[in-house]
């Protein structure tokens, strides 16, 4: 009983109230801009929106209307749904293929012995720090020669193999008990079988971590798609939202509706799998 009473005491203590005040203040700073986005996107009157964005009225909902959303979805020049599908195709492909390709390599590095293994592992870990930004120009030249511009694969293929994902898989696989595959090998299981039927089914946490980290990275990718997509056909949401925003005259209601719709898929994913998202961030930090 003692902990309960001390807790009820603590709930009204000045320190507790101060903590709550600080947490609430921080929460309103984090949510404020999102509230403005949502509220503005639901206001039908363009003039009213411009006026409201000049002050605190931007936080106060007016008459609710989906007019802005309808206009965004009807825009043929800037097809929101097309951008969304493009992003989903790219992200799902990178994550899906990435899980297979990177875990296969990590499995071999962590659980098999072969000549040059340690060197290979060291090279892959060293590659983690190579920033994609420093490769963008030569990579652009390469894909240009290959005739890959304006396609899905130009946004997918170069990013499937991911040194950091290999490293995360490696770290996880290395910690799994060795007798797992030894027992399976005794029973005559092949390398592939051990990987696919024993190791992978035990690896849900690291698969989730890798999927979320790589997924978020390429959901937000901006520089590369800006360079390799020229029309709307293969352009992802991140570049699409920036271009929609760049149109003159700027219709703030529609811009915010576009931004809101562009955030919704990932916000819904986050709210649904919040624990996994947080776990994956923690996982990314537990380095060697």
């Amino acid at each position: 009983m003692a902990p309960v009473s001390s807790r009820t005491l603590r709930l009204t203590s000045p320190a507790t109230l101060l903590t709550y005040a600080a947490m609430l203040a921080a929460a309103s700073i984090m949510l404020g801009p999102l509230v403005v986005m949502l509220v503005t996107s639901l206001k039908p009157d363009t003039l009213q929106i411009v006026q409201d964005l000049g002050g605190v009225a931007a936080f106060i909902p007016g008459p609710v209307s989906l007019e802005n959303y309808k206009r965004v979805l009807a825009d043929q020049q800037m097809p929101f749904l097309r951008f969304l599908v493009n992003t989903l195709v790219v992200v799902v492909s990178i994550v899906g293929l990435g899980i297979i390709v990177n875990s296969m390599a990590a499995y071999c590095l962590a659980r098999r012995r072969f000549r040059g293994r340690d060197l290979l592992l060291a090279v892959i870990i060293a590659l983690i720090i190579v920033p994609v930004e420093s490769l963008a120009v030569p990579l652009l030249m390469m894909v240009n020669h290959l005739g890959w511009m304006d396609s899905y694969h130009v946004q997918i293929v170069p990013f499937i193999a991911h040194p950091f994902s290999i490293f995360l898989f490696y770290q996880y696989f290395a910690k799994l008990p060795k007798d797992l595959d030894e027992a399976a090998a005794m029973d005559g299981a092949s390398v592939w079988r051990i990987y696919w039927s024993i190791i992978m089914p035990l690896s849900a946490p690291v698969i989730a971590t890798v999927a979320i980290l790589q997924g978020l990275e390429f959901w937000s990718a901006y520089l590369w798609p800006l360079m390799v997509t020229r029309g709307v056909e293969f352009r992802p949401l991140s570049v699409g939202v920036a271009q929609f925003f760049g149109q003159e005259p700027r219709q703030w209601g529609e811009v915010m509706a576009f931004a809101n719709m562009a955030s919704l898929p990932v916000i819904i994913a986050y709210l649904t799998f919040q624990r996994w998202f947080i776990q994956s961030v923690v996982g990314s930090a537990v380095k060697g």
Binding site: T19, A22, M23, A26, A27, M30, P33, V36, L53, G54, G55, V56, A58, V101, N102, A105, R113, F114, R115, L127, V130, E133, S134, A136, V137, P138, L139, L140, M141, M142, V157, P158, I160, A161, E182, A185, M186, G188, S190, V191, W192, L216, S220, Y222, L223, L226, M227, S238, V241, A242, F245, M256, S263, V266, Y270, L271, I278, V282, A285, K287
Partner: protein, 323 residues
């Protein structure tokens, strides 16, 4: 099951008999099959890494000593030695971009890390509702930087904008209005603010994990000794988080040096180049101006810079650990 009359052949399969029990139980043929499978499983990742990471990396070094230009591909590409590097280092815009990037990192890294730690301490207080707050603080990190930039553009309108109204009201009308993105001295601080807003939740989660791994008995002992909360924070929390600090600072620094998206959407590097960054500099020369050779040299310099920062920080950490 193993045939004793067939000892592992030292030449082909059994040469590296240091292999674990897994392979020694199989027959020579299945061992060979296993090795083939291992090679096959490694191939996709290694091939892709070689083609899209190592090759472009080597290409950027190779191209950086040429005058290769994407626009007139039929023109002869010449070896120009270190001329590209020389003209980059003589380019005032490069130094401006480097300074802006460094300035961004120098402010963002300590501010964002400190705020992240503060939020983590608040959320770690054990009060009801803490998970809700944690969820809220992390929320902006899942949004793409392009979306974040667009939302903030709505707040940053000048002279009549949401932020100006808030600043004006809070200061009793003394401060503002400011031209957040149009003023040469304000544009970079404004970019810093929205970048911290977007990214702080990430570091908070890492700090939170660090806080939760600190031994509670340490606090217990300190309390018995009569240490105040602030003293506990100073003498237990901060030192116990050393590894977390290292990771957070390292990761945030490297991220800060990649600054591009928010600048491209909000200021296009302006006003007067005050928010131009290194990544934007190499994007402009390589993509907009098609000067591949020149941009490759800039890419190599950018890579060396990131590498240098990483190595210096690692060296500092190593020294710290030895003490």
């Amino acid at each position: 099951m193993t045939d004793p009359s067939h000892p592992p052949q030292p030449t082909a399969a059994g040469g590296r008999s240091a292999s674990p029990g897994i392979t020694t139980t199989g027959t020579t043929t299945s061992r060979r099959a296993n090795r083939r499978t291992v090679a096959l499983m490694l191939t996709p990742a290694l091939l892709l890494l070689a083609l899209f990471l190592v090759l472009p990396f080597l290409l950027s070094i190779g191209l950086s000593v040429t005058n290769y230009n994407l626009l007139n591909r039929r023109a002869v590409t010449l070896f120009v030695g270190l001329a590209n590097y020389a003209s980059i280092l003589e380019d005032e815009r490069f130094w401006q971009a480097a300074w802006n990037t460094a300035r961004f990192a120098l402010v963002t890294v300590p501010v964002q890390s400190a705020l992240a730690l503060l939020l983590a301490v608040l959320v770690n207080s054990g009060l009801p509702g803490r998970n809700l707050f944690r969820g809220v603080y992390f929320l902006p990190t899942v949004l793409s930087m392009a979306v974040v930039s667009v939302i903030w553009a709505g707040l940053l309108r000048a002279p009549q904008g949401v932020l100006n109204a808030l600043v004006g009201t809070l200061s009793g009308g003394v401060l503002g209005p400011y031209d957040w993105l149009g003023d040469e001295t304000l544009a970079m601080p404004t970019i810093i603010v929205l970048s911290v807003w977007q990214g702080v939740g990430f570091q908070m989660v890492i700090y939170l994990a660090g806080l939760q791994s600190i031994n509670a008995e340490l606090y217990e002992a300190a309390r018995i000794d009569g240490a105040s909360r602030f003293q506990q924070f100073l003498h237990i929390t901060l030192p116990s988080l050393r590894n977390t600090h290292v990771f957070v600072v390292l990761a945030t620094t490297v991220l800060a040096f990649k600054l591009f998206g928010q600048v491209d959407v909000l200021t296009q590097g302006g006003p007067l180049d005050s928010t131009n960054t290194l990544v934007r500099y190499l994007f402009n020369s390589g993509f907009r101006e098609h000067r591949v050779g020149f941009a490759s040299a800039a890419s190599v310099l950018f890579f060396l810079l990131v590498l240098g920062i990483t190595l210096v920080q690692r060296a500092l950490v190593r020294e710290d650990r030895e003490i």
